[in-house]
Amino acid sequence: MDPLLTVAFVMVALAGGAVVAVRDPLEQSIVVGFFGLLLSLLFTLLQAPDVALSEMVVGAVAFPLMVLITVAKTRTGRRQ
């Protein structure tokens, strides 16, 4: 197997573990974005540019954005 692919797979596995291991939602939203980015990189290596683009816009932009907004709302709620 292509060493580049192997590295990408291992990185994704590690990043996935990191997302779960990080307990603070705010930090987690950043790690999730990073995980999404790595995934889309891996998908590019797997010759799936369409999927990579989808994963980029969803996994690295839209999903972390929604998480961030929810974190923002729930934090302000605590202060009120």
């Binding site: 987690q28 995980f35 998908f43 999927v51 969803v58 996994g59 709620g77």
Partner: protein
């Protein structure tokens, strides 16, 4: 045989579900579920991969190499939409529930017991 891709998919599934199972925060839960869902994408794409293959776009195929399976890629794209839709709904639920109970901890706000 090389099982690494499938095992990574399995790892993402189990670690994601672990996050769901041990979660103390609904937002953490959604992110963990997101990790679990990406295991499905990985499994499908790894299945359809061809060694030395190229993307299934015909004007970009190099001479002597074959394009990889386009079907699994289409399936994965559908699944990504599914994941996004479900995550948005769960986040919306968690957000509104937070307003009622003042906490994101699903252990302290079970819908019902017993």
């Amino acid at each position: 045989m090389n099982m690494l891709p499938f095992l990574v998919a399995l790892w993402l599934l189990l670690v994601g579900l672990y996050g769901v199972s041990a979660t103390k925060n609904s937002i953490h839960l959604v992110s963990s579920l997101f990790v679990a869902q990406s295991s499905g994408y990985l499994l499908l794409l790894s299945l359809g991969y061809l060694k030395g293959g190229t993307a299934p776009i015909l004007d970009q195929v190099r001479v002597g190499s074959r394009p990889v399976d386009p079907v699994v890629q289409a399936l994965t794209m559908t699944d990504i939409v599914v994941g996004a839709a479900v995550s948005a709904l769960i986040l919306a639920c968690a957000l509104q529930a937070f307003k009622k109970s003042g906490t994101l901890d699903p252990r302290r706000t079970p819908p019902m017991r017993g």
